[in-house]
């Protein structure tokens, strides 16, 4: 089946990709290397991060109180304003770095490296949920239902973790499987609805988010997730037999979930780029009509894709219950990861390893953001701004190239006319 499918769906419809950086013939080798670096994706990503951090820095400097005080007498002593701005920005960003990678104020390596492990811990659910959303994107489905899928996974897996008495090891596996299955079913329901009735997945996932939230809230208040004898809408703590073991000993929070996420990334990569099912997924994502003509059951692919997507997001949910907050959970256990996952998937360009890297970057921002808020008083919202700007800039390479005056790929000689003419329309005024 896969052989006969190889040709039609992928190649049909799409015109040849313009702008491949090929054969810049005359100039020398050094120039060629220079061109490859400056027109590649990597440089765009790095510059996008720099640009986003720059915008963040401007915001931090402008809202800093010392800067505002100094700017009152800016024209008599401009140096004060500059110094105050530099202090506020460098203080914030060094706190961000020390909270996410390495803390230089700690005496030894073992405690200095702790922030990095925190980053990985924060990254774990982001990667898992990001993989789920990315998988949906590849099939042409927009899964905004991460919140609901995480909540259901956390509720079911969490129930197994605190209510059942099973031997160590087995308990963990059962809780994990039940949680992932819960997320998969909650997501698969969306796929089933889309396949059977044509209901748009954006509506159904949003609606199921709310349904899951209120369902879990009810169960926590008055159902089987309730802690006996407590009025707080919070579940009992997970039993020790069901908790993810720490990877690096009790001083660090990093737990087994990170290994599971690496496995999930490998699995998703294999699924999408090596398996028969993944091929059909991508065919449907590129052009569902062509895929249908080629004999792929598009409806069935929607169901499978949403099952898998929900399962991966469910892994993020179960990771929260068994790894991060094991002392019981409430209805806010998803902590916005279901929505963050969309940005992670976008930044990772829906490629499994891209999502992995994006998840770690966002995990670093999250870990560093908290210490930045604590140490420098810069609201953690700045992290949201920087994150979203990074995605925006990466999504629009021409903008980044225009800002840094980089050559456009596909252009033969440096002096040649750019393919896109520069005219001053309102669009451009706003964009630049």
């Amino acid at each position: 089946m896969s052989e006969t499918l190889q040709t039609p769906p992928v190649s049909s419809g799409k015109p040849a990709q313009p702008g491949q950086p090929d054969q810049p013939d005359q100039p020398g080798r050094v120039y060629q290397i220079f061109r490859e670096i400056t027109t590649g994706n990597a440089i765009i990503s790095v510059l996008a991060v720099l640009l986003a951090l720059l915008v963040g820095a401007i915001l931090i400097a402008f809202t800093n109180e010392d800067v505002q005080k100094a700017s009152v007498y800016f024209f008599s002593r401009p140096g004060d304003t500059v110094v105050a701005a530099w202090n506020s920005v460098s203080g914030a960003y060094s706190a961000l770095f020390q909270g996410s990678v390495y803390n230089f104020r700690k005496p030894d390596f073992a405690s200095g490296i702790k922030p990095l492990t925190e980053t990985l811990t924060f990254a774990t659910p982001l990667i898992a949920a990001g993989l789920g959303v990315a998988l949906g994107f590849r099939v042409g489905l927009f899964n905004i239902g991460g919140r609901g899928q995480m909540l259901i996974a956390a509720a079911l897996g969490g129930w197994v973790a605190f209510a059942l008495d099973l031997p160590a090891g087995i308990h963990l596996v059962v809780a994990l499987v039940v949680g992932v299955a819960g997320g998969a079913l909650w997501g698969g329901l969306v796929g089933l609805l889309k396949a059977r009735t044509g209901a748009h997945e954006v509506i159904t996932t949003i609606m199921l988010n709310y349904v899951a939230y209120y369902l879990v809230s009810y169960l926590l208040r008055d159902g089987f997730l309730k802690t006996p004898g407590s009025n707080n809408p919070q579940s009992p703590a997970s039993k020790p037999t069901a908790v993810f073991p720490d990877l690096l000993g009790p001083t660090y929070n990093l737990h087994l979930g990170f290994i599971l996420v690496i496995i999930a990334t490998i699995f998703t990569w294999w699924l999408l780029s090596r398996s028969n099912l993944g091929f059909q997924f991508r065919a449907v994502g590129l052009n569902p009509h062509a895929a249908r003509v080629a004999g792929i059951s598009v409806d069935r692919m929607y169901v499978y894709a949403m099952l898998l997507s929900g399962g991966l997001v469910g892994l993020a949910g179960i990771n929260q219950v068994l790894g991060t907050s094991t002392s019981g959970f409430d209805a806010g256990i998803d902590s916005g990861i279901g929505f963050d996952a969309i940005t992670v998937a976008l930044l990772g360009r829906s490629r499994p390893w891209g999502v992995f890297a994006a998840g770690i970057l966002f995990g670093a921002f999250k870990a560093g953001g908290f210490s930045m808020q604590a140490a420098e008083g810069v609201p953690i919202d700045i992290v949201l701004i920087v994150q979203s700007l990074i995605v925006l800039f990466i999504a629009a390479p021409p903008l980044v190239r225009a800002i840094f005056r980089l050559p456009t790929p596909g252009q033969k000689t440096p002096g040649a006319k750019t393919p896109r003419k520069r005219t001053t329309t309102p669009t451009e005024v706003v964009a630049s």
Partner: protein, 436 residues
């Protein structure tokens, strides 16, 4: 499946999905979706109203104390009302089944009557031995629906011109933030409204610039813009608004304006004509968008660009410019909805105060099949469902409040799956137009 060389578009899909796949040339295929959905709801109604029926009397108050014409309260005996309602529901279900059998379509009004009957039955059941203030219920519903309606109108315009607008949430939030700040500084709520529109337009500018000029996937830009606006407003709120709440975050609110005569019509008057200025602007906006889209040159061009940009380009319409300015207009309308949060209802800006309203508005757009009137009705439905929960929790409903809160979303899923079905947006929506 084993012989992919044979082209079989309908063969690969399940039997129930075949309705959507066959073209209009095919013979009318009977769709049992509506009767099945109605039957399920009738069964649920039977279980709730008859099997678990409650005794007592349900009172519905139709007038407020300030009304000129006082209507008497309607008192319904709870259990008999339930039985009658279920009997009527059964009749309608049977009728729709008969219609489908004889290859006719189930008319929308029949479904509407069904929904209203079910609702009356449910209200009577939930309010046994209590009083439901009907005008209050509807008034609150409209209030909750106002930002959704503005957002949905913005979404409709934007998507009709070919740009998917996931950034409604961001536009609402930006509108709420700027209107609160500007109205606080100037003490002029009207200037706050203008500022909200400007903020919505700014968000739209970014959306349009990235989507139209840089051909970035529109859903990506929308999602990211939501995060960006949430970050910027949250950051500025913590840094500026929260420390200086008295000067920067205490906007004056719009007063309710009673429209003479109209506001004295029983039930309708207190609900629709004792509202704030923003709500009256909303009525005008809905009418204008509807009329503009379907009865003016502007609307025709807009829809042409959204359905078939190449054809529009061929006849001399500037696709990029049309998209750019209409997306900006959509942002202005959605921004107005944001102003309602601060100048109409709550009064001060709070972090993430839109709380997903933009996504609900997006759902209303799709639920309303990209039609301004239907999208408005969908938004009203969402508003009604949320307010129903508020009212029932005050009079003490027997259902756990979480399930009441869940209800609107469940009903939406049912409605989208059972009644709306395969909805088709504007053909070129979400696709960048690359002029060759």
């Amino acid at each position: 499946m084993s012989t992919p060389t044979t082209v079989s578009p309908a063969g690969s899909t399940g039997p129930s999905a075949s309705v959507a796949d066959t073209g209009p040339d095919f013979e009318q295929i009977k769709s049992w979706k509506t009767p099945i959905a109605l039957a399920i709801f009738t069964l649920l109604g039977f279980l709730l109203l008859v099997v678990f029926g409650r005794d007592g009397e349900s009172t519905m108050r139709l007038s407020t104390t300030t009304d000129l014409i006082q209507l008497p309260d309607v008192v319904l005996p709870t259990r008999p009302t339930g039985v009658v309602v279920v009997a009527l529901l059964l009749l309608i279900t049977a009728g729709s089944g008969w219609l489908v059998r004889s290859k006719a379509k189930v008319p929308l009004w029949l479904v509407t009557v069904f929904a209203v009957l079910l609702l009356v039955g449910f209200l009577a059941w939930a309010s046994a031995d209590h009083t439901i203030p009907v005008p209050g219920l509807l008034f609150g519903s409209l209030s909750l629906a106002v930002p959704l309606i503005f957002g949905a109108l913005g979404g409709v315009i934007s998507e009709r011109v070919g740009v998917v607008n996931v950034a409604i949430e961001g536009q609402l939030l930006a509108g709420a933030f700027t209107s609160a700040m500007v109205a606080s500084i100037t003490q002029q709520p009207l200037l706050g409204l203008v500022a909200a529109m400007v903020a919505g337009v700014l968000v739209s500018f970014v959306l349009a610039a990235f989507a139209i000029k840089y051909f970035v996937d529109q859903v990506i830009v929308g999602v990211v813009l939501n995060v960006l606006v949430s970050g910027v407003t949250g950051f500025l709120f913590s840094q500026l608004l929260a420390p200086n709440a008295a000067t920067l975050n205490s906007p004056p609110r719009f007063e309710n304006i009673n429209i003479p005569l109209l506001s004295e019509i029983p039930i309708i008057g207190p609900v629709f004509f004792r509202q704030t200025l923003i709500v009256y602007i909303m009525y005008v906006a809905v009418a204008c968008v509807y009329f503009g889209l379907f009865h003016t040159k502007w609307g025709l061009r807009l829809r042409a660009v959204g359905e078939h940009p190449q054809a529009a380009d061929t006849v001399g319409i500037n696709v990029a410019r049309t998209r750019f300015w209409n997306v900006s207009l959509a942002g202005a309308i959605a921004g107005l909805g944001g102003a309602y949060f601060t100048l109409g209802s709550v009064g001060a800006f709070g972090k993430e105060m839109t709380a997903g309203a933009g996504f609900i508005a997006l759902a209303a757009v799709i639920f309303g099949r990209w039609d301004p009137i239907r999208a408005t009705l969908a938004a009203l439905l969402f508003g009604f469902a949320s307010n129903l929960q508020n009212v029932l929790s005050i009079i003490g409903s027997p259902v756990p409040s979480e399930f009441m809160l869940m209800l609107p979303y469940l009903v939406t899923i049912f409605a989208v799956a059972g009644l709306v079905g395969q909805s088709r947006g504007p053909a070129a929506s979400g696709k960048p137009y690359i002029k060759s």
